[in-house]
Each structure stands twice: as C-alpha cells, then as structure tokens.
C-alpha cells in the first residue's frame, strides 16, 4: 500500500512546528510515532499534503518533576515511559498501561502525545489521564494554553485542539504516596484495542476509600469519566454490594459499537467487569 504524495518537514523547535502548522493549515498533519497516521495514509483514509515530523524537536522529549506534577514531553515513547524510574515509583499506572499498548515494536515509536491527542476512543492513555486528572499543554500560533484531559475530548477524533495547535506535554499531578491505581484491559490479542478497559486511581483512609477516579476506555465516542461509579465507592470499604453498584453505574454510561470485539451488550458487560477488577486491584494496592 502506497500513501498519497506529501511534502515532508522536520522542524527542530516547537515554535517552528507551530508556525508550519499554522501556515499550512488543514493540509498539514503533525507526525509523532506515526503508528496511527501512517496506516491511515497507506489506506488513503488520510491524505495530508504536508507532514510536520516532530521527531527532531528535543524540547518535546523527557520526563521531569515540576512542582507537584510530573511533566511528560509529548514525544516521549511508550518504551521510555516503561523504562522511567520516576514514573514507576510515582505513577505506576502509566507503566502498567504502556505495557498493554500494542506490541514491542510499536512501543518503541508510539508516543504519549500522539496517544492522547489523536482522539481515538480506542487509545488507552486518554482514560488514564482523565483518571489522574492530568492536563495537556498545548502550543499554537496564538501562544500556549493548558486543557484538562477531562475537558479535552468531544467525540471520536474530535478534541479541543484548534487547527494549527499541537500538544507539547502532558502534566500529571502526582497522587499522594500510598495511593492505589490499576488499569484493566480486555483485548482479543496483543496489538488489539480494548474490548473494554477501566482505569482506577484511589486513596484510602482507615480502610475506606477517601477519593476515587474511575474511567472507561473504548466503550463510547471518547474515554468516559464514570462519576456515578465514583460516588458509589466513596466512603466504602468496597464490599461485594458496592462493587456491584459501581459496575452497574459504569455500565450505564457506556455506548459501545458492536464490532469484531463483540456485540455492544457484551462490551458493556466487559466494561463492568474491568471496573470491578481495577477497583479491587487499586484498593489492594493502596495504603491506609
């Protein structure tokens, strides 16, 4: 399969990349790891006239502490997320999730910025970032701004990004030490998107859940924040009746498509099971 013709640009600064994206307008697409865009170009479902390769922009790389947050450059690959000692100790759910994305070859290339900015409901990081209440740093010709992950997704491939804008970093508030988190994903095979998946981040106090965030992946037009399920577990010690209520509340907000991964009713049920498993594992991992 041969992609359509395009012109290739390789800027070395964010300022140059943003200028190119603004000047070239709708005909240009930024290129990160390329493992969503290039297959679409080979199918001619995407036919950009210009590709702006972000690979040579050093300032888009790296993982660092910034106050009470950890800031991850948009071009940081899943392989680098997995290898990061800082993330493994402070935000282990990011490593756990990265290991469930695609396959080894794809993880060398796939980036956190591409994963969150593409707006594909099958991507795993949007739900995780919503559960962590992360924000995306965005650069455009009008300057920079920050948008919360929870406010970023409007629909499938439809996000808060304006034409000419790009995500430059993901800023994750570090959850308190002793928090528990888990990402549970059912997939048919290595490399597949989730049949359904759930992320949970919680804190415990005196054996009860103090705060909990629960999100769902690939059972709607965007990742979903399961607020009723969150309310159902707060203040409880996660007994069987609470787990059942939380799973039911999560299932109620799903609207998956029937596809090769199964009929919609099955995928909804799987979402509930993923919520149960992620809650139980996060609860067991949390101190307090």
């Amino acid at each position: 399969m041969i992609p359509g013709s395009f012109q290739y640009h390789r800027p070395t600064t964010v300022a140059d990349a943003v200028r190119l994206l603004a000047d070239l307008g709708e005909d240009a697409r930024p290129l990160a790891g390329g493992h969503s865009l290039i297959p679409m170009m080979k199918l001619r479902m995407a036919t950009p006239e210009h590709l702006v390769d972000l690979a040579a922009i050093a300032e888009l790389k790296g993982i660092r502490h910034a106050g009470a947050s950890i800031v991850i450059g948009a071009m940081t690959t899943q392989k680098e997320l997995i290898a990061s000692d800082l993330l493994t100790s402070a935000l282990p759910i990011i490593r756990e999730t990265s290991l469930l994305i695609a396959d080894p070859q794809v993880r060398y290339c796939g980036t956190i910025g591409g994963n969150v900015a593409n707006g594909d409901p099958g991507n795993d990081m949007p739900g995780v970032m919503m559960a962590l209440d992360a924000s995306y740093q965005i650069a455009g010709s009008a300057g920079t701004r920050e948008v919360k992950a929870r406010d970023f997704y409007f629909g499938a491939y439809f996000t808060a990004l304006e034409p000419g804008e790009m995500v430059t970093a993901v800023s994750v508030p570090v959850p308190p030490a002793g928090h528990g988190a888990a990402y549970e994903k059912l997939k048919r095979k290595i490399g597949d998107y989730a049949t359904a998946a759930a992320a949970v981040v919680l804190t415990k106090q005196g054996g009860r859940i103090a705060q909990a965030s629960i999100t769902l992946t690939n059972v709607g037009q965007t990742a979903l924040l399961a607020e009723d399920a969150m309310a159902a577990v707060r203040g409880t010690s996660l007994g069987p009746d609470v787990l059942a209520r939380a799973a039911a509340a999560a299932e109620a907000i799903t609207d998956p498509a029937s596809d090769g991964r199964g009929p919609a009713a099955y995928r909804t049920k799987v979402a509930g099971i993923m919520v149960r498993r992620a809650l139980e594992r996060a609860f067991a991992r949390a101190a307090g």
Binding site: Q7, Y8, P39
Partner: protein
C-alpha cells in the same frame, strides 16, 4: 509528485546516500531501492512484524515508517547478521538448530526482533521471550521452536550451556 529529497543512513555498516520521495516507505526503500530483499512485507498493516529491522537501537516495523524519517539513522537488516565470511549469527544458528522456522517468511523479522531483545535482556526467561516477540506473527511453528531458538542463541552468546526445556 513531491520533490525527491536526499537521505543518508548506515545500513549493515555501509553508508547509503539516496534521493527519495517523502512518501516512500522504509521497507520499499530497503527492498526496492537498495535491493536488500531479506526483509519481508507480510501484512503491510504493522501487525505481523515480518518487516522488522533494527534502527538506532529500536525494533521498528519498516512498513510503518517513511524512509525520510530514517535519515541519519543506523539500520541493521537480516543481511547484516551473519559474519562477512558467512558464519551464521548465534540467532541464525539457533533457528537452524532448533527448527525455528518452517516456511521461513516471518524469520527475518523474528531474528531482528530477537536480536534487539537479547541486547536489552541477555538472559530472558521464556515468558520474557514470548512477551518480547509478541509483535511478530508466525503461522507455521506455534512459536515453540522459535522460543527455543532464541534460548539457544542467548546461551551461546552468554557462553552458558543450552538446556532444552522438557515438553
């Protein structure tokens, strides 16, 4: 047609300087422009791993990367694995000795992926090998002998005895 642009990269130790159209995929560059046909096109959709090459210390599916993205990089393909005198690399020997292939179509990608895996983890467990080659599909072997071939190569490279696990 977009204008051709120059790229240079080191492939199997040889400096290559060529003009490419931006839309030229790395796999087509390697197979058609450089006539290195050991790297295979399998699914052409970044699932099967037959097109895997080693690029700057990464295992990369060359069907999902443009040649222009590889400008300045160092690449090893299956042709770069054996010694110049033809002596097989430990992985090639392992695939031969352990019958790690039947039709052989996936083998170049398997070997290139296993090569990087052993660079990163010289003494992997069976589970680590299976997780490490999860991006490479084989429709013949059922993977059993591929895993053994990689264990054979790891032992040879580490200078330790190869002990075949009981079935």
């Amino acid at each position: 047609m977009a204008k051709k642009i120059p790229v240079s990269m080191t492939i199997n130790g040889r400096l290559v300087e060529e003009m490419v159209e931006p839309r030229l995929l790395l796999i087509h560059f390697i197979r058609e422009q450089l006539a290195l046909t050991g790297t295979h096109i399998g699914c052409d959709t970044s699932h099967c791993g037959a097109c895997t090459v080693d690029l700057d210390g990464m295992s990369v599916k060359s069907c999902t990367r443009f040649a222009v993205q590889a400008d300045g990089s160092t690449i090893t393909t299956i042709e770069g694995m054996a010694a110049p005198d033809g002596t097989l690399h430990a992985l090639q020997e392992g695939f031969r000795m352990m019958h790690g292939l039947q039709c052989g179509f996936c083998t170049p990608g398997m070997i290139m992926r296993a090569h990087r895996l052993l660079q990163e983890n010289p003494d992997p467990t069976e589970e680590e090998i299976r997780f490490g080659i999860a991006g490479n599909l084989c429709r013949c072997t059922g993977y059993q002998n591929i895993v053994k071939a990689i264990q054979y190569a790891a032992a040879k490279l580490n200078g330790t005895p190869f002990v075949e696990a009981a079935e």
